[in-house]
Amino acid sequence: MENMQAVNNFVAAYLKKKGFKEAEQLLEDLQNKESAPIDFHNDPELAKFIHRFSQSEDDVARYQDGYSKLRSWTYSSLDLYKHELLRVLYPVFIHSFMDMVAKGHLQEARTFFNNFREDHELMHSRDLQKLEGVLSQSHLEEMEFARSLRQSKVNIKICQYSYDLLLQYLHKTQSTAMLGVINEHINFQVSSGQPSSISDDAEVVTLIGSCQDTANQINQKEIHWGLLEDSLEERLEKAGGLLSDSEKTEEENKEGDADDTKKRSVESGKQGASTKKLKKEKALNATAKSARPEASTTPAAPRVKAKLPLPLMSTEVEQSILEDLRNRVQLSSVLLPSVSFYTFLNTHNGLNCSSISHDGSLVAGGFSDSSLKVWDMAKLGQQGGSSILQAENDSTSSEHVVGPNGGKRSYTLFQGHSGPVHSATFSPLGDFILSSSADTTIRLWSTKLNANLVCYKGHNYPVWDVQFSPVGHYFASASHDRTARIWSMDRIQPLRIMAGHLSDVDCVQWHANCNYIATGSSDKTVRLWDVQNGECVRIFIGHRSMILSLAMSPDGRYMASGDEDGMIMMWDISSGRCITPLMGHTSCVWTVAFSCEGSLLASGSADCTVKLWDVTTSAKVPRNEEKSGNPNRLRLLKTLATKSTPVYSLQFSRRNLLFAAGALSKNL
């Protein structure tokens, strides 16, 4: 600076001597301007900034050093603020690592990573596994996960005092590398008042690729989680289980008020009613509904209109369902369900998935040898086990082959896929099965004809999951190609494609009112999509590993999701928040299911247990109270252990009998 001043003076003197008045003036102006706004010495931020740039070429040891210092400072900080400060460590850690890799100091980056990975192993083991492999700059660019991390900022909620503490520390110790990382990648949401409690941090630390803001924005969207108006349950409630036939047909006609008439062609005979009449009835219906809200015992969920044209139900089917509903066992935390367990034997580790029809009479298993096998449990029960002769039908495409010991198979074999079958689902009436496979196709099978009806091609990668909608006809699929798709049985092209997940879509589930589907993904988020317009309407963030199973409560209010670590999270759909994590399983939660009136949640896991959870208490206790008390008090009602049989699927029948299925595996 001293030098600079001297030069300036020299120049000024020279200009004066030569008589360059204008130039002299300009220089003076310039000098004044320069010195006024930019005060290198007095602006610490800028100084740091420049300082940092000046040292960016410096050795990478700075990161290691800075991080270890920051770490020890954090660990020795006051307990009250410690957990908040600890949250900062993980993003700093991974970004420091990636910075080092990006600058080409691979060896140092490796040692740095290995030195400190222990700290974060518990919470972020999977992310760390992914990052561990990053060994060059090109990997950083190539790897989506790393890229999204680099591009987005992490939101961290922190209280004012902790924030001040942190800044103070960073300034005092001149650890510019850390400051740089923090500035670049962390977005502090400073809140005044007390530091938040420890239990709060689940979602805060999850690093998601998409910006948290957009997620928040999405979660602001309106959502109609109510049940379908005019559902069978509602009708049962209204009529007290005593519907006359005439009423029923009228109501049936009413269902046809949708635009799409294609599917109604079968039942067009009944469609005599004019739209006017329909409207009138609806108005009546509405008044009836408003007239008796107090009559129903449960707080009635709001009713919504179906956005999809819904298929019609035949009278007999409807009657049988109503019969089931009347005979339903009311389950509660003191009245637990009976569980019937279907054990697959001799699967030789080949069973990939299983599915149980709604009445529990049919059980399907998808195998890694591309076959789909369906057992008729009613017949199995009648003939008592081993040597059951399935009614043979040579005309069907699914051949029955004589078994090795001369006896016939006890199941129906569906062959057609050319890759492991990853998922199977029964239509609500049990007359169709859908199966999805690694050969990228979904196949529709008829259990009546024992034949393949349709092959749906559309996905480009293995289809991990397929689910029938609660009303049938529509189904949703989830695939490795990171999309979920909505299909209808009568078209071979998908109706909607839901894209947005950052990794494989692993599971899919329909909302009770068929207007939404939820998808769980390996990017650790669950998303809710509007079926009508294909938009994402909710992002549920909180899981720490890949999501394996989803279930929607029958009242449409809640959603449960199970992940690879054995955690189950209960979500409030309307707010997009986690109500409570249900902890208890020690391994992958393969399946979750709500009981029919939504009071219980059953979960089946690779740890060979079926657990029953109390939904009503866990949902109703507000979150704040939750924190104060024992976080997982009383939710777990019961653990039912199987004999070394991981539970693959659970299904509540309409009468609230719980069916479970799994493959006996000896090497567990």
Partner: protein, 525 residues
């Protein structure tokens, strides 16, 4: 830097025909190879999850390769794990033992047995939330209580393990077997066939279903057939055989068996004829009881205490018959020296006082009674002698210098023994009844020898600790001071047992006194 070493890359390059791979290339390839491998493994894990498995298999890796449009690894799976072998002549060079598989061989190999076809079995995992105790369900106890706060709630609702009544089905063969055995027991228990049957009972493996029937049979027959000596003996032999059988789990039936066994031990009257050698039966049963206690005593810790209580009551009740006393003594003696020491020896003096009149010819005129009394006396002698013998056996061997004195005194005893036996024989000859005991059942005299030999050995040591005079003399002349200190220590430890010994000797001595001449006695005291 990366897990994959540069050399590995070079080796792989060579294996695909690139011989001149530059170092730089290998170096930069290595991290990339690792990255790709990790990527593939992560996708393989994805595939594993979608196959609902928690164990990664090669199929998953193939699936992951498939996802990336990479040719899967083709190959012939080897049954076992790959083995690394050390190359001969090199210290740190290993290779995989990968032997060539002749395709023809594979093709022509006989087809393996077809695996069992997949099936579905159905059972109730829970009925209204309670797990029924059926074989398909995991036993309730196996469910380890979770470590968190859920435990107390779970306890409330843990289902009571109610065993459903099990229908017991006996095969036709087993029924026949049982009928045959019972018939043999009842009718021809002295035939060779019965001996065969006993061997079969002791060794055959499939008899477990019959155990409840046998126990019931034994209990039933014993209660009915107390007069039938041979039947009782046969029944006890059956129990013995059942106990010997390693395949039988007899524990749950012990409570049914024990009463009948104890009955055969301490019943007043076993068999209705004089010729029935019920003593033998009691001896046998005593051994049986001891066996049971030895085998199941640790499982039922009350078993032995209850048994000894019963036996002791029988022994100490003066109103009981002498036969009962005999059984009780035999039973207690069979249970081991500790029982004898703790239960018989303290009661020896009063009991002997009780027994004494029965033994004497002039006081007890009934020959039968007197015979019984002598039997009891013999048993008592044997029990006490055995107890003491065992006790002495566990004494540490005395150091050699004092050994001399001991040997000396022992010699005296040994020489005394024949005298004494002779002496004891002499009066026996006077009494024909007692002579019979001594000849046909050498229990009495044998017991005398066993008691006297060890007691003689102790005799040398005993006075040295209890009666200071002799002890000091022995200590001083025979050995150094150090050794005497050690000896004193040892003797002090056993002082208690020494005291009992003395009293015992005195008691026995008194018992014997009437038959043994006084010179012999002086040697003892």
């Amino acid at each position: 830097m990366s897990i994959v070493a540069k050399e590995t890359i070079e080796v792989i390059a060579q294996s695909i025909g690139i011989n001149n791979l530059s170092d730089d290339a290998a170096l930069s390839l290595a991290p990339d190879v690792e990255y790709r491998m990790r990527e593939i493994m992560q996708e393989a894990i994805q595939c594993m999850r979608h196959s609902r498995r928690t164990i990664l298999t090669t199929d998953d890796v193939d699936g992951a390769l498939n996802l990336r449009n990479v040719e899967p690894v083709y190959g012939f799976t080897s049954g076992g794990p790959l083995q690394f072998k050390r190359a001969i002549g090199h210290r740190d060079l290993f290779y995989i033992d990968d032997r060539d598989v002749d395709l023809k061989e594979v093709i022509e190999a006989p087809l393996p047995k077809a695996p069992l076809d997949t099936g579905v079995a159905c059972h109730w995992l829970a009925i209204e939330g309670v797990q029924p105790a059926i074989p398909e369900n995991a036993p309730v106890g196996v469910i380890a209580a979770p470590s968190n706060g859920n435990t107390h709630e779970q306890k409330d609702e843990l289902p009571v393990d109610i065993r459903l009544p099990v229908k017991h089905v006996l095969s036709r063969e087993l029924q026949l077997y049982f009928d045959k055995i019972t018939e043999l027991t009842l009718r021809k228990s002295d035939s060779a066939l019965f001996k065969e049957a006993l061997v079969s009972l002791a060794t055959d493996s499939g008899l477990h279903p019959l155990v409840p029937y046998f126990t019931f049979f034994v209990a039933d027959e014993v209660s009915r057939g107390l007069n039938d000596y041979s039947l009782l003996f046969a029944l006890m032999r059956i129990v013995w055989s059942l106990l010997q059988n390693p395949h039988i789990h007899i524990e749950p039936y012990l409570h049914q068996l024990m009463p009948s066994v104890v009955t055969c031990l301490v019943s007043k009257k076993l068999g209705n004829r004089i010729a029935d050698n019920h003593w033998e039966l009691r001896d046998f049963t005593a051994k049986l009881v001891a066996l049971i206690c030895k085998r199941f005593g640790h499982v039922y810790n009350t078993l032995q205490t209850r048994l000894t209580k019963t036996l002791l009551n029988a022994l100490l009740d003066p109103k009981r018959a002498l036969t009962q006393h005999y059984g009780a003594i035999q039973g207690l003696a069979a249970l081991g020296p500790n029982v004898v020491r703790l239960l018989i020896l303290p009661n020896l003096e009063p009991y002997l006082r009780l027994l004494e009149p029965e033994l004497l010819l002039e006081k007890q005129k009934n020959e039968m009674k007197r015979y019984e009394a002598w039997r009891v006396y013999g048993a008592l002698l044997r029990a006490a002698g055995q107890g003491i013998y065992e006790r002495l056996k566990i004494f540490p061997p005395l150091p050699s210098p004092p050994g001399h004195t001991i040997w000396k005194s022992k010699e005296k005893v040994v020489t005394a023994v024949p005298n004494k036996r002779k002496a004891s024989m002499e009066p026996l000859e006077d009494e024909p009844a007692l002579k019979k005991i001594a000849t046909d059942g050498p229990i009495g005299s044998l017991a005398l020898v066993t008691t006297l030999a060890p007691s003689g050995q102790n005799d040398a040591g005993q006075p040295s600790s209890s009666e200071k005079k002799t002890a000091n003399r022995v200590g001083k002349d025979g050995q150094t001071l150090k050794k005497s200190a050690i000896l004193n220590q040892i003797w002090k430890d056993d002082l208690n047992s020494g005291h009992t010994l003395v009293t015992l000797l005195e008691l026995l001595g008194e018992g014997i006194l009437s038959f043994i001449p006084s010179p012999e006695m002086s040697l003892f005291l």
